[in-house]
């Protein structure tokens, strides 16, 4: 009996370290294998001269499979940890990859930009706050603050407003898909194409000639003289914002529409049975339900209009009083080769978005998580 028991004890005594070592070995071995595999894929994708199709397929498998594989392995490792550590570390399995990539592609360059914003044109001599003083006193910059404010208010309001209206209406129409596809279409047109389209809208020909711009065709048909729309201060900024609204309403519509689809139909039916008017149903049932989507869409379009660049740059080059911050940033950086100023304007953009961040963070903090 005693020997038996001690033998049993012995085997347990032995097996514990074996299993533990096995586990540790596995814990080390699996990630190494995974890493080697991913690295092999990386090298292959970098250096291979196989056909595009093959590379593309391998890329999707490598990218998606690699990400899933890393998730699974990391999760598997974390699951081995004591509960306390597991709850602490496991979330990083999910947010980690995104944070690493964001850190590399955007966060570090931003830090570098912050650093450069205190230096001169070529990034060699420290100039203190000189670039920021420039950014807040230069007449073009001051002009662009006012214009950017218009872009934010009218551009965001217009895109979200139309997007919401169309999404609500389309939800009640049998031809929903057709209408949505038409509103969406501008998004599919490349920016170069959109530029041409709007040149044809605002094109100017002297009075008495055949107009080739539709806006002036209407104007002259009504008996007025043709106008060079994009040169008329201060309305020209508004004419440019119209382009943004035309482009971005599709984006707002798609997201808001998919949120509307998420409103439980029982709720809407219940409201209707209670005798509420359609308008009331929308106001007190649908809108509250999709509010967070509206805020999200508004936030992204607001940020987009804050860094609006290509519309202004290609349509007016920022002349006739239409200058905006991002186009000044681009000019300083890539045309005037003034790193310091270009960087400081980028940082000013970042500062300008603080109220938006604060609002989003407030909503974020109110959330409960597991």
């Amino acid at each position: 009996m005693k020997g038996d028991s001690s033998a049993r004890k012995g085997s347990t005594f032995l097996s514990v370290p074996v299993v533990a070592i096995g586990r540790i070995a596995a814990s080390v071995f699996v990630p190494i294998v995974a890493f080697v595999v991913l690295w092999a894929g990386f090298i292959f994708l970098r250096d291979s001269e196989a056909s595009r199709g093959v590379i593309g397929i391998v890329a999707v498998v490598w990218g998606v499979g690699g990400v899933i594989g890393l998730f699974v392995i990391a999760n598997w490792l974390v699951e081995k940890l004591p509960v306390l550590w597991r709850t602490r570390i496991q979330p990083f399995v999910f947010v980690g990859p995104a944070l690493v990539i964001l850190g590399w592609y955007l966060f570090l360059p931003t830090v570098r930009t912050l650093y450069l914003s205190f230096f001169d044109a070529r990034g060699q001599e420290f100039v203190g706050l000189a670039n920021y003083i420039y950014a807040f006193t230069n007449s073009a910059m001051i002009e662009s603050f006012v214009n950017n404010l218009q872009w934010i208010v009218i551009g965001t309001g217009g895109s979200v407003g139309f997007g919401l209206l169309i999404a609500l209406l389309a939800d009640r129409s049998r031809y929903e898909r057709v209408f949505k596809a038409i509103i969406f279409m501008p998004m599919a047109i490349s920016f170069v194409g959109a530029g041409v389209i709007w040149r044809f809208v605002y094109a100017f020909r002297p009075a008495g000639e055949a107009q080739i711009g539709i806006l002036n065709a209407v104007t002259t048909a009504l008996g007025a003289s043709p106008q060079a729309w994009l040169t008329i201060r201060p309305w020209n900024t508004f004419f440019l914002i119209v382009i943004l609204i035309w482009l971005q309403t599709g984006y707002a519509m798609v997201l808001i529409s998919s949120a509307i689809k998420g409103v439980p139909s029982q709720l809407i039916e219940a409201g209707r049975i209670d005798g509420a008017s359609e308008f009331r149903v929308i106001r007190s049932i649908v809108i509250p339900h999709i509010m967070s989507t509206i805020v999200t869409v508004a936030t992204t379009i607001l940020i987009l209009s804050l860094k609006i660049f290509d519309i202004v740059f290609t349509m007016t080059n920022g002349l006739y009083g239409t200058e905006v911050m991002a186009s000044l940033q681009y000019k300083q950086m890539f045309r005037f080769f003034h790193y310091g100023r270009g960087s400081s304007i980028a940082i000013v953009l970042l500062i300008a978005v603080i109220p938006v961040m604060w609002y989003n963070l407030k909503r974020f903090t109110e959330r409960e998580a597991f």
């Binding site: 292959f44 291979s48 001269e49 391998v58 499979g65 002297p206 060079a228 007016t316 890539f334 005037f336």
Partner: protein, 453 residues
């Protein structure tokens, strides 16, 4: 508060009622999925990785430039003799976003061997950043043999030559619809006063003298700076011009102010410019010459560089010599004659791209042989002193090439020579404001403020 969840849950998305079961099924699937993924990601590369990239950079010269499509094809055609002779492969890449890209690539450590820079300002920036290789004795010998000295200076930064000019353009030219002029009996003017007399004659006949447009997307404004430069050269002479480029003569100087006033006499007079200032501001550069070729012509002259022929309607391009006439923008002050203003692409070599092949290609570009084929197919002028003018495809191009080579005074586009903050910044904006009706002194002060940056 909460509904009985599992019972009412959509069965498609949550087809298991027990977490345990979820876990098992999911576990098995995941394991097999991983196995497949790893197999593909690991084995596939081994099977497929037959051709590892073994680049042979030694025989390939990568050239990057701003011209694309048709012009790129003509360039490739023009350098074919070099490829045939040496067996060196020239890979030309062009992009209209060249300005941004070349800078990003140079700073990012990934420059091509050679690049064609349309603006001397870009060359100075890259040379100042230590990215470029100064020209070596063999290349300098070719330059001294084949070019007027002005081109060597234009390719130099702080006294060191870096650039070799290839295709260039002549901008001080006025184009007109030849047949309509002949029908009206208009004659090309020789002096500024004759030109104004002609303009008044046109107005008296109910004609609008000038077709003009300065809209050019992200580069709007340069058309106006070209006019000012032409006038400064004709009223104040090349020395003042050179000092103006260096800001020793500021924009607020009376001599520069005068040039704006002279331009204003033409541009701000609605009788002289087709469509008035509104049309001037909003008509794009390629559309600007088109009113000349309507029937009857809506405008009768257009001042633009030799590249303008590419914007003419197809039927005009097909009979260029019969349909179009050209004369040099007339002299204002006889003391300074009829100077020629223009621009051009200069080729420079990067330190990182300094190979024997790249060097021999650069030397080739400094010879007329590299331009001959392009001159024959049309659309380009070359600055070589020893070029064969008979090679040009049309009489029109032959004349402009001759005007360019034989001009007593040639000056490079001043706005391209000034720092970009002025030349491509406040100067462009100032031209637009001037046309838009802003007070001239304010405009000049605003342009000058670009220098302080």
């Amino acid at each position: 508060m909460s509904s009985p969840l599992p019972a009412e849950t959509d069965t498609n998305t949550l087809n298991s009622k027990k977490g345990e079961k979820v876990k098992q099924i999911h576990g098995k699937r995941i394991v097999s999925a991983i196995a497949v993924v790893f197999f593909l990601a690991f084995v596939a590369p081994i099977i497929l990785a037959g051709g590892k990239k073994e680049a042979e950079p030694s025989r390939v010269v990568e050239v990057f430039g701003a011209f694309v499509d048709e012009e790129a094809r003509r360039f490739e055609e023009a350098i074919q003799p070099f490829i045939d002779r040496t067996g060196i492969e020239i890979q030309y890449q062009g992009s209209p976003d060249f300005e941004t890209l070349i800078f990003v690539r140079a700073e990012g450590g990934n420059p091509p061997n050679i690049t064609a820079l349309p603006q001397p300002g870009l060359m100075k920036n890259l040379a100042g950043g230590g990215h470029l290789t100064p020209l070596w004795p063999e290349a300098l010998a070719e330059i001294d043999r084949n070019y007027a000295p002005v081109w060597k200076d234009l390719g130099s930064f702080e006294g060191t030559p870096y650039g070799i000019f290839h295709r260039v353009n002549a901008k001080s030219l006025v184009w007109y619809p030849r047949k309509a002029w002949e029908a009206q009996g208009y004659e090309p003017p020789e002096t500024w006063d004759e030109m104004f007399a002609l303009m008044d004659e046109m107005v008296a006949n109910g004609h609008t003298p000038w077709a003009a447009g300065m809209e050019s997307g992200g580069a709007t404004g340069w058309y106006g700076t070209d006019w000012i430069e032409d006038i400064v050269l004709r009223t104040a002479g090349p020395d003042v011009y050179d000092r103006w480029v260096e800001n020793e003569v500021p924009f607020t100087d009376p001599r520069i102010r005068e040039a704006f006033e002279i331009l204003g006499e033409i541009w701000l007079n609605p009788d002289y410019v087709y469509g008035g200032t509104q049309s001037l501001l909003t008509t794009s550069i390629p559309d600007a010459p088109l009113p000349m070729f309507q029937d009857p012509p809506r405008a009768w002259m257009h001042r633009q560089g030799n590249f303008v022929t590419g914007f003419f309607p197809d039927r005009i391009q097909d009979n260029l010599d019969e349909e179009v006439g050209v004369f040099a923008l007339p002299s204002i002050n006889p003391e300074w004659g009829t100077p020629m203003m223009g621009g051009g692409d200069q080729f420079v070599m990067f330190n990182q791209g300094d190979t024997p092949e790249a060097r021999s290609f650069m030397e080739f570009l400094a010879t007329w042989e590299s331009g001959e084929a392009w001159a024959r197919s049309g659309g380009a002028l070359f600055p070589y002193v020893n070029q064969d003018l008979s090679a040009y495809s049309s009489e029109l191009e032959r004349l402009t090439a001759q005007a360019l080579v034989e001009a007593e005074v040639f000056r490079f586009d001043a706005s391209d020579l000034m720092p970009a903050a002025v030349g491509a910044g406040t100067f462009w904006a100032g031209m637009v404001d001037f046309v838009g009706g802003q007070d001239l002194d304010t405009v000049l002060r605003q342009i000058e403020s670009g220098w302080e940056q």
